[in-house]
Amino acid sequence: MPEAIEKVSIKLTVNGKSHSLAIEPRMLLVELLREAFDLTGTHVGCDTTYCGACTVLMNGAAVKSCTVFAVQADGAEIMTVEGLEKDGQLHPIQKAFGDAYGLQCGYCTPGLMLSTAQLLSQNKRPSEKEIRKAIAGNTCRCTGYQNILKAIQLAAQNMKGA
C-alpha cells in the first residue's frame, strides 16, 4: 500500500462552469460531482457499472460516473442533470419526462435523461428499437419503461427544429 499519495491538479468544466482543483487519484467522477460540487442530482445506485443512475455526459458522451476516475475528466466538459435546465426553464427532455409520467420514484431519472440527451444529439428521430438500445444501460425498477419510452418519443417530437 503506497503512502503519501500525491494529489493531482485538474481543470474541468461542469455545466458550463470552469473549475480547477487538486484531488486524490482514487476519487471517482461521481464523488467529485456530488461531494466537491454539491451536484447531488447525479445518483449512486449500484456503484458497480450496472444501473446507470450515475450517468453524466463527458464531452457529449454518456458515461457511468461511478466508473471514471475524476482525474480522467481533466480538460473535459461534464454535463449533469443540473445542467439541462436553462434560465429556470426545464429542458424539453425534463418536461417530457414530467408530461409523459416517465418516472415514479425518480432515482433513475437523471441518468435516463442524460442517456436521452446523448441519443437525441445523434439521432433526432429515433425508432422505438433505437430508444430501447440507447437506454439499455439505465435500470428503472418502478415504471416498466413504457412511460419512459413515451417520454423520450415526446422529447424527440418537441425538440424537432429546436
Partner: protein, 297 residues
C-alpha cells in the same frame, strides 16, 4: 466504494507508458477505458499501487483500412468501432462492438484494454479468434506482433510482459464470399453474456470452403471449436453437416455452473447460438444484409 489508494501517472506516449511500467514494476497497471479495471479496483480484487493512464496519449484511437487490413488503435472505444463505416467490411466486428454492454460502457471501453484484460467473459477475443488477428505489443524499446491465438494465454493472462502494452490490433479483411456473425446471449444489457458464439466462414458456391468458430464465456478463455469447424470445412452445409458441427461445438464448450446458468443450460445455449450464427454467416456470405444484435430481454 473506494479503491485502495494509488499513485497516478499520466503517459504522454505509448513509449513513455511502457517505460513507466518498466520502472514501476509489477505494482503498476495500465488504465485504458477502465470499464473492467475500475470495478475490480472498487471491489478490491485489483489493488495496483500505481496506475499509468493511457487516455491522454494522442493518436491511439483510430480505425484504418490499409492493404486489405483493418487496423484499430488500442484506445479505440467500442462506440467508435460501432460507428466506423470501415467495419462494414467485416460485419462480425460490428456485431461485437455494437453489442458490448451498454452505450455508457461502449463510450469508454477500448478494444486494446479488453484484449489485454483477457476476461473469460469478454467479447472481443471470441470474435477476433475467428479472423486473422495480430496484436501489436510494444515496450519502450521495440515492438512485436503476436497472433491472437498466442496472445491469450489463460483467464486474465496474456503474452504481454510486464513492461509491454498493446498498441494496435490488426485484422485481415476476409476474401470475397465470406460472412460472419457474432451472437451473445445476456440476461440484460450491462452484464457479461451467459454464452456467445462467433462464426466466420467463406463459401465457394454451396460448399463451405473455410470456417472458424469461437465460443465465449464457456471456458477460462474463448474456445476455438476445431471439431465443429472440421465438420463443415469442405462440406456442403446441410441439415446433417450442420447438426454434426453444432454437436461438436456443444462438446467443445467447457462451461461452469454459476449465477448465469447451469453448465447443461449453457451447453444447450451454445448449440442454439452456433446454429443461428452459422445460418446468418452463410446469408451474409451471399451478400445479404442481416442485422444482428446481442440477445437480451
Amino acid at each position: 466504494m473506494y479503491p485502495r489508494a494509488f499513485h497516478y501517472h499520466r503517459a504522454g506516449s505509448l513509449q513513455e507508458a511502457a517505460a513507466m511500467l518498466a520502472e514501476l514494476g509489477d505494482e503498476a497497471k495500465l488504465l485504458a477505458g477502465g470499464q473492467s479495471l475500475i470495478p475490480l479496483m472498487k471491489l478490491r480484487f485489483a489493488n495496483p499501487s500505481h496506475l499509468v493512464d493511457l487516455n491522454f496519449v494522442p493518436g491511439t484511437a483510430y480505425v484504418k483500412e490499409e492493404n486489405g487490413t483493418l487496423r484499430f488503435g488500442s484506445l479505440t472505444r467500442h462506440a467508435e468501432i460501432e460507428a466506423s463505416p470501415a467495419t462494414a467490411k467485416i460485419p462480425i466486428i460490428h456485431d461485437c462492438a455494437a453489442g458490448i454492454a451498454d452505450v455508457q460502457v461502449r463510450n469508454r471501453g477500448t478494444i486494446g484494454g479488453s484484449l489485454a484484460e483477457a476476461d473469460p467473459s469478454g467479447d472481443w477475443a471470441t470474435v477476433l479468434m475467428t479472423l486473422q488477428t495480430e496484436v501489436r505489443c510494444q515496450n519502450n524499446k521495440s515492438d512485436r506482433r503476436v497472433q491472437l491465438a498466442d496472445f491469450i494465454k489463460d483467464a486474465y493472462t496474456t503474452a504481454l510482459a510486464h513492461d509491454e502494452l498493446v498498441s494496435e490490433v490488426a485484422v485481415k479483411i476476409p476474401p470475397a464470399g465470406s460472412g460472419g456473425a457474432y451472437l451473445a446471449f445476456k440476461r440484460s444489457a450491462p452484464v457479461y453474456p451467459t454464452a456467445s458464439a462467433a462464426v466466420q466462414l467463406t463459401m465457394d458456391g454451396e460448399t463451405c470452403k473455410e470456417i472458424a468458430i469461437g465460443l465465449g464465456c464457456v471456458g477460462l478463455t474463448a474456445i476455438k471449436a476445431k471439431d465443429a469447424e472440421a465438420a463443415l470445412r469442405g462440406q456442403r452445409i446441410t441439415e446433417k453437416t450442420m447438426a454434426a458441427a453444432v454437436e461438436a461445438a456443444r462438446a467443445a464448450a467447457e462451461p461452469q455452473s454459476d449465477m448465469r446458468g447451469s453448465a447443461d443450460y449453457k451447453r444447450a445455449l451454445v448449440s442454439s447460438l452456433v446454429k443461428r450464427a452459422i445460418a446468418i454467416a452463410v446469408r451474409r456470405a451471399r451478400g445479404e444484409q442481416v442485422e444482428v444484435s446481442h440477445i437480451y430481454a
